[in-house]
Amino acid sequence: MSTSSIQKRDDISIVLCGEAGQGIQTVEQILTRVLKLSGFNIIGTKEYMSRVRGGSNSTQIRVSSRNVSSAVDRIDILIPLDKKALQHVGKRISPDTVILGEKDEIVGENDNGDLTVIDVPFSQIASDIGGRVYSNTVATGVIAGLFKVDRADFLNYVTTFFSGEKETIIEKNREAAKKGYEIAQELIDSGAVDIDVKKDPGSARDILINGAEAVGIGAIAGGCNFISSYPMSPSTAVLVFLSRHAEEFDIVAEQAEDEISAINMALGAWYAGARAMVTTSGGGFALMEEAVGLAGMLESPVVIHLAQRPGPATGLPTRTEQGDLQLALYSGHGEFPRIIFAPGKLEDAVFLSSMAFNLADKCQIPVFILTDQYFMDSYYNMPSLPLSDTGIVKYVVKTDKRYKRYALTKNGISPRGVPGFGSGLVSVDSDEHDEEGHITEDLDLRVKMVDKRLAKLKEIEKDALPPELVGRGDYTTLIVGWGSTYHTIKEALGCLKRDDVSFLHFKQVFPLHRTTLSYLKKAKKVVAIEGNATAQFSHLINRQTGFNIQDKILKYSGLQFSVEEVVAQLEKLL
């Protein structure tokens, strides 16, 4: 048994693995909070099956002194909660992995002697306290202890966490936590484990949020006051977040009977002056497409959060993929402009979600926020949120008697009135219409109206956000990525240690910023990294810039890229 690897590390990857319903989430929630509160940087990510009980799920918590925010394959400490766990994460276990668990019960037959196991009789201890349900809290205590979290702080947090429960349950959980903490101290004292990740004094005061919260907070910051949606993993978390805060922020949050209803409600709400969004995933979004076209025709703003998961059809409902870019880009029949954002950092998600409402309102178009399961479920700590960069700009005008909803203007944008605000009437129409918003069969006007709608694309292009260059400006190889892979590729780039390789990340994927082509042309070699099977973003780049990316690293297993994987694939290519 060797612990040297862990001792040298300034970031530790802890993996909890067990069945759905076994309480991994409880362990995770307590641990991440207390670790952060005691000054560590925390990055949490997870992968799980589409079932409520059973199966094998895992959560990774990276505890680090560095500013990294991605998932790694490497497991430094594994806490297997059932027998299937070792199999489930099998490929990721190395001799350096410290397995904290019940040797007989859980590790058992899986061990050919090549595993580094620290036998902790979680269940036994828990049973002694009052039941196996407490074993998770024991495990929590062990980790807290190993990271030398202040004992009192830890126990206080446990008390707070269980404060909704009965007195005896709180007490037993405290006992379990204490017991775990003691075991850790024994392990440290005996030299079996010694962790020395440096604390970052700021972290304790940091904000800890996940992707879903980032989108939700951004939406509120952008003035969102209406969400209508139909549950669908992994997009539901945003509906849950805004529902929870609906009363506080005067938000109407309605679960619709289906996705079609959801988006048509949202369009109705915008028409009446609200700032509305929907949150959905691929299959649900497919049902919304007719109404995306309606938004195009009505020139209605709408914000669509599309959390991607592997398709086609139901596919892998709880997994991740970047497979719906083209779906969003070409959604809705007919031709009209749109904007597509794809946040890479949680901070981006806050900023972009808030921007989405302003831009939708300004340009009267659908604005997409493309995330995915990995992004929704990832969280890490950060000092602050970019709220100062945001701010609500409302474009609604007060109408007068002569108001015309579709007045022809040079940039294609007609001032948008809402019913009941001013003395004018507001008529919007899904048929081709005249300036007043009434059905027309005047085909010359039709052409003008198409031109008007498409003219807005120019306006939108002006506002396009530039891609972010990570690394030096004088690269010879350029890695291109978009959306949720930001941190992973960035960390992989760090591992590569090559000055000639840089990374260009797009958080706005449509329309592309005008500098895009010049970035690409500067490189001798361009490598696209995408979480899909057909390189959808590379196609989009080709379409928009004419640049053809030759080298691609694609993944479509349902799991996010790991840092190691990206490094290995890049090393092969470069």
């Binding site: 904000i207 907070i217 005067d250 109407v252 009977e257 209803s261 028409y271 059905i439």
Partner: protein, 288 residues
């Protein structure tokens, strides 16, 4: 001279001469006028179909959306601004065919919208296919052997779902239709007004005359608070009763259940985000 604030003046109306829609249009404008509504505070929402062209012929705010989707759009509008009077209008295909699911759930949601359905028992705009309410044996270019399915009984389904206001009218009787529309708009909560309407071009079976002969008004003694009785009348064989079948005054209205309107009815567009609260929310993510 009668005040007609909802009149569009001299416009081209795309309906066929003799179509029942004209009478519904007149009844509606008259109802709106008599209710003394403000055109600026009214929105007529529609889907697609002949009936759904209606809002273009009324001087008011218009949301002419997608086939079958008037109800969700209307719900969104009403919920975003409860100060508006909202009517969702369309044909039998629009509301009971393509939009059937929204119809079902609008009844449950009980948002304060008036749902006017021009029921001509045919898909008129698409040139004469059967609609959910077409009668058995009705032949069309698609239903070449005649319709075999029992027509959709919207009144019965609404009562089965304990809808808060359920009525049927006949376009031929402009005056009573107007009165029923007035009651429906005045009602707080979801109100269904299924209006039998003759289509002179594609329904040669259920003509004006047919409707005249096959309808009658519910007696004054009919108690619209009695659900079972209403159901009986909705499902009885033979002639179709007209009038208000059912009312449920106890159903909470959707907008009243929305937390945002618990203390104020201010439309959403007039409100501001409380940035201070948002900061508090964010800060709560530091400790918890």
């Amino acid at each position: 001279m009668k005040r007609v604030p909802f009149d569009m003046g001299d416009i081209d109306i795309a309906w066929c001469p003799g179509c029942g829609n004209f009478k519904i249009l007149d009844a509606l404008k008259q109802a709106l006028t008599e209710l003394d509504l403000d055109p600026e505070k009214l929105v007529i929402v529609s889907g697609i179909g002949q009936a759904a062209k209606m809002p273009h012929y009324v001087r008011t705010n218009v949301f002419n959306g997608l086939h079958g989707r008037a109800i969700p759009a209307a719900t969104g509008i009403k919920t975003a601004n409860p100060e508006l009077t909202v009517i969702a209008e369309g044909g039998d295909g629009d509301m009971y065919g393509e939009g059937g699911n929204h119809f079902l759930h609008a009844i449950r949601r009980n948002s304060d919208i008036t749902n006017i359905v021009h029921n001509n028992m045919v898909y008129a705009l698409t040139k004469g296919q059967a609609s959910p309410t077409s009668t058995i044996g009705f032949t069309t270019p698609v239903q070449v052997g005649g319709v075999t399915e029992e027509p959709f009984n919207a009144i019965a389904v609404a009562i089965a779902q304990d809808a808060s206001f359920v009525a049927r009218a006949f376009s031929g009787d402009e005056d009573q239709t107007k009165d029923i529309i007035k009651e429906a708009i005045a009602h707080r909560g979801y109100a269904l007004v299924d209006i039998l309407q003759n289509c002179v071009s594609f329904n040669k079976v259920n003509t004006y005359q047919w409707f005249k002969e096959n309808t009658y008004y519910l007696e004054d003694s009919h108690d619209p608070l009695n659900r079972i009785e209403a159901f009986k009348r909705a499902t009885e064989e033979g002639k179709l009763p007209l009038g208000i079948f059912y009312r449920n005054p106890d159903k909470p209205c959707f907008e009243d259940t929305v937390p945002a309107y618990h203390t104020s009815r201010t439309p959403l567009f007039k409100r501001k985000v409380d940035v201070r609260k948002l900061q508090v929310l964010i800060d709560s993510k530091r400790s918890g």
